[in-house]
Symmetry: C2
Subunit: 594 residues, 2 copies
């Protein structure tokens, strides 16, 4: 169950798709050149393969446990984490002035893929810490930054996001946890569930970011505030030795990511859970979105990262499993199953999706960088438009396809795939959470079809379609069928945007009913854009004399995408056109067992 | 985690789709009328809900274990099995003269759905016994029938299928187990893996049907023979007390169906594994197909059975989980998530697929009955044509959609779906084996595109399309869009058959490469046929004054199928048309990690 980082494809995505050259021109990123990226990917690949991947399966078997109220991680976890932070990986995208490496999101995305592919359960810890850092950076007071940032960025402490309560999952308006003013701090009370790395034994402190309500808070999402609640508080000597009133009540028994401790946390059982307000009263939702947007992007990365790991294992298995004669030589000798066309279809399907999704996420993160740092306002705005649209697609579409892909990878193993020992089953179990946490696919689809479509009558969506069309026009050497399918896809998408945006307000149910195929349509077309662009760039490299077979394979991968994935566009269009009214007319008794 | 058998829908399928009236006219089935069917479904539903469903989740948690070389089933298993056979359920489809209930396959299929939905791990035991009974019935000598049939039919003993060896999964030509003549019997040696209920403690004997090679056997599939190898042999007094030389070496650690013991069996470690040849020397493959065809159909039933159980749980969860306001009333109170249109889409999707797949399997089993018993030869032949084509579709398409459906059911639970306690995760794990065992989806697709298409230049496939077209012409009150989509689907399918059948022999790789979308195209269109027919029949019932809302719901379900599932046809057509050459040109280095 080894893992090899796809460094060449990541570099290709950086250089040819995600505009590394443009990133290098952003203030602060002048040093980010090809050589640096290659060196980082090389090192990250080594760390992933040699340190994280080897403890992925053992971690699944052993899992995290709760021992005397303290979460204990699986064997090797503490040591790997120590190495991880000592190598400086934790602070990759953050400013050097807070101890980070000052690298752009696009590099961080490439490296995160390697962590999640190597060991998703492990990589969730820094993923959550990153969210906490973002929140403190964006909303913390100077004192809070001073107190927490350096330790979170270095990884000496980890961070968590405490949103969910038993009655408040997707619906944050239902949050009930309370915060009572008490001098310079607040006393937090309530229970939070599904807290990833809510407790563990890898660091001396954990910084919880907790949504709760002040006594005078308005109802709904406008009445939630965010609080910093450290596991350990500072004593008089300035050391963090005083146990805060946060109890780990339970670790969940989950389908997958067994080694990632998912905690139920009880705040204020003894009325003494000290918390510090961050970002102003009743501003919790905004702060939460700061954490959430980056986290959503990162979960999208998990989707194809894990799928790529699973794909690699399927290729390995298919290359060594001898079974049956070749279909066109039934009397010949036995062949490895990688020679069977139906197995090749499964592999091509996974490969083209993973590479398309990777490209899309890399482009999205490149836009994150530009939206934050570009010196030209209109470029910043355009990049921000892209991020707004691409984030729910990267989260929603990558994780849904990732789920299908790990299942295809398992299928290639035949009966062995159903045995836990091969590891294919672990990927199938682990991946199942990705379309759920940080907002289900349904939530992503409503974000894309609601806030990001209806709010401005489709203008944002149409601007983005416009940018993509412009980009497509610059592509050289596109074959005619690919060109035609892509143009058709963009036109159809534009038409759907127009039609949906023109719906009267009373048709909200119809729109919500088709939001999922709408999100998929975006996914199919934007992945098509990236695959067409990949083919064009690869052809240019071949034309320029580069003989690396990587480029010819890339062209074939894009062709397979257009022959097999792009056609799903028509299914989504039909669903969007014809199923909304039917669903809106649902009588819930229709679902009764008959 | 309760389960309610969908008795009304099963009865509808029997009466309106699977031609119960026609079945009643077959010799021996004169008693099989609506009242009888209703009574059987009622009783089976009760047994499933009250006896089998309650031990499904506990069985998953506890699992089967190997204790001192003997497989031990989970708590409650022995008692449930005793009740099961005492109620006479085990011999449902077999002749009364061997102790069965003498009921047609179509009833058996309906009842099997209930068992698999209630408790798939449990129901696998009778599924395998049924295969063994079929083999003995079709190929056993009179003495063998005398010896084994009654006990297998009653369920006093169970049966197994021993095909797979470590190097011989889909590829039975690679079977290496040996059989050495030794007086009136043979001595078997070799190892068999993945043996479902290969060992257990619910009955006093287990009858293994084992593929092995005689000393003079030709190579490949033409050299395998089938042997009866009882766990216990008869002593001089005629009692079955002598332990045969079959050892349970291991129970597999699997992703799902934990309560179903999957054994590695070692034959002849002490050179004394006694086996009896069944069906003639080197006739093993044919005998195996006898077992396999029924088993394939049954696994297809598992696909939608389990999906229906998961769907029921999702409906239950969505009906009680309050989260968010209604999309068209954001300031109103919180609603149950079953009111959200995106959740409704997921439920409709599951519902329409499950009902379509159920209908198709019921029709297929009705054809099994007619092919066996109809007095008119041409009707028998036509029914047999249908079975030939529908079996790989029922197996392949039901299990693939079943897999997607249990995942959608889990998704509706949000974060709770990932927690093992809700049971949604168990269905997701259990279902994963169905597209693998009894021939993977790839194998089913090759059966449909190879043996059942190319062998006779597409004649069988075109005859079946013809029967369906004829049937469609008899449907009353079909709405025009449904009529048009169905006719178009059948025409396109017919065209694909022509095109594929006309391919030159050297294009075998291209055909194999598109066999999976070819199977799916068949699945989509034949399910469309069943849903259109369901809508037509339901409308007739409404027109006749039946006010049961079941019928209006059925019409809406069919409409949803045509708006959401039928459009996938175009994707499959595109894949069939354009991806075969690409895949056939694969260079396996394309799949290397770059």
């Amino acid at each position: 169950m080894s893992y090899t980082a796809p460094t060449k494809d990541l570099l290709f995505a950086c250089l040819e798709l995600a505009d590394l050259e443009g990133i290098q021109q952003l203030p602060g990123y002048e040093e980010v050149n090809q050589e640096l990226v290659e060196a980082i990917l090389e090192e990250a690949g080594k760390f992933g393969s040699e340190v994280l991947a080897p403890i992925n399966h053992s971690g699944d078997i052993q899992g995290a446990r709760l021992v005397d109220g303290q979460a204990v991680t699986a064997d090797g976890w503490k040591e790997a984490y120590k190495q991880f932070i000592e190598s400086g990986w934790n602070g990759l995208p953050f400013d050097p002035e807070v101890g980070g490496q000052g690298l752009p999101w696009v590099i961080s995305t490439a490296v995160n893929e390697i962590w999640h592919a190597s060991n998703m359960s492990f990589a969730l810890c820094p993923l959550l810490t990153q969210g906490a850092i973002e929140a403190v950076l964006a909303h913390g007071s100077e004192e809070q930054k001073e107190t927490y940032l350096a330790k979170l960025v270095s990884g000496e402490w980890t961070g968590t996001m405490n949103l969910t309560e038993p009655q408040a999952g997707s619906d944050l308006a239902a949050v009930r946890a309370k915060a009572k003013p008490n001098g310079d701090h607040y006393l937090i009370s309530g229970q939070k569930i599904f807290i990833t790395y809510g407790d563990h034994d890898m660091t001396e402190n954990i910084i919880h970011l907790v949504l709760a309500r002040l006594p005078d808070a308005p109802e709904g999402v406008k009445g939630i505030s965010l609080f910093i609640v450290p596991k350990y508080l500072q004593d008089d000597s300035g050391k963090w030795t005083i146990r805060n009133d946060v109890k780990t009540l339970k670790l969940e028994h989950k389908l997958g990511i067994h080694a990632s401790p998912t905690a139920v946390l009880g705040y204020g059982d003894d009325d003494s859970a000290v918390g510090y307000l961050i970002g102003g009263e009743h501003q919790g939702l905004m702060c939460m979105f700061t954490m959430m947007n980056v986290a959503r992007h990162s979960v999208g990365v998990q989707g194809y990262a894990l799928a790529d790991r699973a794909y690699q294992q399927a290729v390995e298995y298919a290359s060594n499993r001898t079974q049956g004669a070749a279909i066109d030589d039934p009397k010949g000798g036995r062949v490895n199953i990688i020679d069977h066309p139906d197995v090749q279809r499964l592999l091509w399907t996974q490969k083209c999706r993973n590479e398309a999704l990777r490209a899309l996420a890399m482009v999205s993160s490149s836009c994150m960088d530009k939206s934050e740092r570009h010196t030209d306002e209109s470029t910043r705005n355009a990049a921000n438009d892209m991020v707004e649209i691409l984030t729910p697609i990267v989260k929603g579409y990558s994780t849904e396809l990732g789920l299908e892909n790990v299942s295809l990878a398992l299928q290639i193993h035949g009966g062995m795939g159903f045995m836990e020992e091969t590891g294919a089953a672990q990927h199938y179990r682990d991946q199942r959470i990705t379309p759920i946490y940080e907002g289900t696919t349904g939530i992503q689809a409503l974000d894309l079809a609601g806030r990001k479509l209806l709010r401005d009558g489709g203008q944002l969506a149409q601007r983005v379609i416009g940018y993509i069309k412009q980009d497509v026009q610059t592509l050289e050497g596109l074959e005619e069928p690919m060109q035609r399918a892509l143009t058709d896809g963009l036109d159809q998408l534009n038409h759907v945007v127009e039609v949906l945006a023109a719906q009267p307000a009373e048709n909200m149910r119809q729109i919500a009913a088709v939001s999922e195929p709408y999100l998929r349509l975006w996914g199919i077309v934007t992945c098509g854009w990236q695959m067409a662009k990949s083919a064009s760039r690869a052809k240019s490299r071949i034309a320029a004399g580069d003989t690396d077979p990587f480029f010819a394979t890339k062209v074939r991968t894009a062709e397979f995408y257009f022959s097999s994935e792009m056609p799903q566009m028509h299914t989504m269009l039909d669903r969007i056109n014809s199923s909304g009214d039917l669903i809106a007319a649902t009588n819930i008794d229709d679902f009764k067992v008959a």
